[in-house]
Structures are given as C-alpha cells and as structure tokens.
Amino acid sequence: MSAVMAEKPFLLEAEGLAKAFKGLLAVHNYHVRVSKGEILGIIGPNGAGKTTVFNLITGVLPPTRGWIRFQGHNIVGRAPHEIARMGIARTFQNIRLFRALSVRENVMLGLQMHARAGLGETILSLPRFLERERRLADEAMHLLELFDLDHLWASPAQSLSFGHQRRLEIATALATRPSLLLLDEPAAGMNPSEKEELMGLIHHIHKEFDLTIIIIEHDMRVIMGICQRIQTLNYGEVIAEGTPAEIQANPRVIEAYLGHSQPMGTLLQRA
C-alpha cells in the first residue's frame, strides 16, 4: 500500500516556500505534499501564515522563494485566474461573494469558464449564446440544489444569512470544477449544529466531486473529524505534521497553541 502511494505523483507539491512582507517573514521554508483524494488540515495560532500559504498557492501573492507544482506543472508566476482554470479553487476567511449578483449568477460566474460564448455571438445574441446561458443556468441550479440553496436562486447574494453565504461560497468554488479545494476557516462563526452540518457537507462533496481538500480551521472538532493528516504552522513554519492522533499528542503543537504544555483534551473541550 505505501509503496503504491509513493509511486503515485502528488497532486500538489511545494518546497522551500517563503513569503516576506517588508522584512517580516510570514511564511518560512514551507513545504507540503498532497496526494489525490486526501484531506489535509492546516492549524496554527493567528498570524502563523496559514492564509498566506493559500494566497501563495492560488497566485494571489508571488512567493519570495520556493516552488509549487500542481499536477506536475510549476504554477509559481501564473496569474490567479489561470491557476483557478487549472483546477484549484478556494474560499476566503471573510466570505467574499459578489454581493450585487444573484445567488445563481454567483454560481454561473464560476461555471462560465467551461462554457463561454464568444464576443460576437454574445452581442448578436446568437442561438448558441442563448443555449449556453441556459445550460449555465441549469447547471447552476443543480449545484444549488445540492447545497439546498435553490429556493434562493434569484436573491442577491448580499441578502443571504451568514450560514447560507458560507454554503454559497463553497458552491461557487465547486462551480469552477476544481480538483483541489482550499477552505479557509469554513466553520468560523458557526454554531455547533451548523458545524456538524458543515462536516457532513465536506465529507459529501469530497466523495461526490472526487476532491482533494486542504482546510484551514481553528475548530479542533472539525479538523480532527475530517482530516486524514494535519500540518501545524507557527511563525510561518511547519512545526509538526501527522495524523490527528499524532498531532494531538505533540507537545510542540500544544505549546504553540497554549504557550505551555497542556493536554490536547482541554483544547477539544473548549472547541
């Protein structure tokens, strides 16, 4: 089993990744290897560089050093929209929807890179354009049904409740048909039952869409419940990596979180 795993190329690989903001090293010598189908968790105290790692992978920020390979291709230096088209989708820590667009249009925007009419067809409103728009709308509705948001399709995204906005953002990310999904604190601001629901949803889309997922999360119950492997970041560096059980027992992790050694069980109870 492990021999087979080793031969399989990694979906995402990064090595020696660093990002400096005017002398402040937000990320330092970061490395990651994610196999297809895996769910990797990234934890760490605030300011540990977790979101910066996502920004480096998605091309929002250029790394100061290091390389990133996705499906065997170097993606450092590529524009964010090119990386999105290659199959990396993300959500944001603070929900970022297109507030003036309707719920369905938000999803159609993610879908449209796969079925887009040309400029001439669009302006002349040729049948091919109309058919593509209809197909985009249909596909968007299917996706919205899966997220139980289809009844809200015509509402502007800004009118949705917080929980619905979180779900919609994941739906718009999936609309780009990614193979790698990056979730940035999806459970932030949710109550326990919403968190349960979210975990179910992540499990479901992981299987249904054949996804590989990297998730940043502070909620230990969520992280321990869905991740197969966990990385812990502190001061922009990976200080521990392993299975949930290994991470829970790692004294460096506990120290990074609490400042002194204390059993991980307390963390779990707090969450």
Partner: protein, 342 residues
C-alpha cells in the same frame, strides 16, 4: 430581439419622424445632442459603472474620433485648401460618413488599448490619472500636428452629415451592445470585478482582459460620438473636447445612477435638456434690469450637490427600469441585481 423591443423601437422611430417634421432646427439640434450624450454616458457606464474603473478619457476619445472622421469625410477640394500639407493619398481620399465614423471609433479603441495595456494591469485608480494625461496628450497633438489638424485654428466646414437618424441609430446600437454585454458572461465577470477583483480571479475571471474589453468598447463609442458631434457642429478645434465634456458625461452618469443603462439614458437626457432650457430662462429673466447669466450653472451645481447628498446612488440607483411588456413572452433569464456602487 423580441416583439416588445421591436415595438418600442418602432414607437421611437415614429416619434422621431414627428419631431423631424414638427420641431424647428434649434430643437432638432438639442435632440441630436441628447442622443450623442446618451451614447457617451451609456458607453462610459461600462467602465465606470459596471467594471468599477474610473475613466476620464471620454473627451480624448471623442477628439480622436472627430478628427479622424473629419479628415476622412472632407471632400478633396476643401482638403486641398484647408490642409495643403496633407499626404497626397489622404488628400485624395473621401470616405462615406458611416465608414468614417466607424474608423474614428476604431482608432479611439486602439488608442484605448495602447493606454490600457500598461495601466489596466494595476489595481486602483491609475486609469483616472492615465486618461487625464491622455486628454492632455491628445490636445497637444491636435494643436501641433498642423499638417493634419490645422493646429489651433481647427477644421471647419465639415459636411453636416449628422442628423437625427444617425444619432438615434448609433444610440440604439450603443445601448444594444452594452445591454447584451452586461447581460452575459462578460457582464457577470465585469460586475464581479467591481465587487471583488481578487475573488473574481479566484473563480477563473481574467480581470485584466475584462477591464480592457470594457475600456475599449467604451472608447469605441466615444469615438463614434465625437465623429457625430463634429459633423453636427461642422467645426472642431483642439479645445472642442475639453475636460468640461468629460465632467459633464461623468455628471450625467452619476445623476442617472452608475451601473444602470436606463439610468444613463435618463441622466443624459435630463442633464442635457435642463441646462439647455435654463439657458433660455436666464436670458428672459432679469433682476433689477440685469439678465441672470450663469443662473443655469448655479442651478445645475445645486442639483448635483443635492443628488450627492440625498441620493448618492443616482436617480435609478443601479436598477434598470423595464418598459411595460405589451406582448407576453416567456421571460428568458430573470435578473436579480442590486447596486452596491453607491
């Protein structure tokens, strides 16, 4: 194009026939200016209202369209007199009005692309500064390239080709093209860029390409409007297309409501007609024997200030006004958008 659209087009055409036969020259000219301002405002809305860039380049693009079309439509005989230094092939050339107008628009779009390539890759309001600079450059070229532009003297005696039908036709084309663009994947991408460019890129939207498209389409129609204006007034100078024109168009856009095509049409109409009629009022009114010159400008300035204080999002607030549907037809794709530009 459905039955409703055709009906309203036919209605407008009929009204235009009436206007042509009933109105005197003055009113017909005012109406033509209304349509030219609709072209300018609707096209500027694409950049400033939908993509959320702030362009101040409309006067420059008008100037480009006006000068090129003027050089192309002038009969060779007048060109020989006005611009003796013109290259021989250009001196011999006489291009039909429609083709000259389109070429004027295309040159404006090309210049927009040249300005846009370095600027539109940057985030922020660099476009406003760059387009202001472009306006200065265009004016300096117009003043100094005397062989073609006759410098500060300007070109006069342009054939008066522009009539109500030309300006109406181009206004319809402008509104149609912008409306089609906005209600398509292009428009979704443009609005998404306005709302959050980083998030739009994360969903696969090529931000630079869409900003560029909006800017160039806007410049094309500004060039068209310039050509129409030149052949309406029949004389152009480097100072015809000043910052005041850009400012007026921005005001029309803001008063009507950014991000709404019907708002642009309304803004352009109101902000053309009101000052024009106030100008007549100020000459007829007098206070203690002095005519009240400048009253119209004061009233307009006060109006804009009031709009900014009480209705920042403009008269229509980014919404579209739908004319009543007279012929029932299944609605294709209902839109649900609200404005967040205000």
């Amino acid at each position: 194009m459905n039955k409703n659209t055709l009906f309203y087009l036919a209605l407008l055409t009929g009204l235009l026939f009436l206007a042509q036969s009933l109105l005197n020259d003055y009113y017909q000219r005012v109406l033509a200016v209304v349509f030219i301002n609709i072209i300018l405002t609707v096209s500027l809305n694409l950049t400033n209202g939908f993509v959320g860039d702030f362009s101040l380049g409309h006067a420059a693009f008008m100037s480009i369209g006006a000068y090129l079309s003027a050089v192309l439509t002038l009969p060779p005989a007048s060109k020989a007199g006005l611009m003796p230094q013109l290259p021989a092939w250009l001196g011999q050339l006489e291009v039909p009005f429609l083709a000259a107008t389109i070429l004027g628009g295309l040159l404006a779009a090309l210049v927009a692309a040249v300005v846009g390539i370095p600027v539109l890759r940057l985030r922020g309001h660099y476009l406003a500064v760059a387009t202001l600079g472009l306006m200065v450059i265009v004016r300096v070229v117009a003043i100094n390239w005397t062989a073609v532009t006759r410098g500060a003297k300007g070109i006069n005696g342009l054939p008066a080709f522009t009539n109500l039908w030309w300006v109406f036709g181009w206004a319809v084309v402008t509104v149609y093209v912008v409306w089609r663009l906005v209600n398509s994947s292009y428009g979704r991408a443009m609005i998404a860029i306005r709302e959050d460019a980083t998030a739009a890129a994360a969903r696969g939207v090529n931000v630079t390409a869409h900003r560029m498209l909006a800017f160039c389409v806007g410049a094309f129609f500004a060039g068209i409007a310039g050509a129409l204006w030149g052949h309406l007034i029949t004389a152009i100078t480097p100072h015809s297309f000043s910052f005041l024109i850009t400012f007026n168009v921005v005001v029309m856009l803001v008063v009507g409501g950014m991000g709404s095509i019907s708002g642009s049409i309304l803004g352009a109409t109101v902000m053309t007609l009101v000052p024009e009629f106030l100008r007549r009022v100020e000459t007829s009114l007098s206070l203690g024997g002095h005519p009240l010159y400048g009253l119209s400008q004061i009233i307009i300035a006060v109006t804009i200030t009031l709009v900014m204080i009480f209705r920042r999002q403009g008269l229509l607030g980014g919404r579209e006004v739908q004319l009543p549907r007279l012929f029932d037809r299944q609605r294709a794709l209902p839109q649900a958008r609200v404005d967040t530009t205000g």
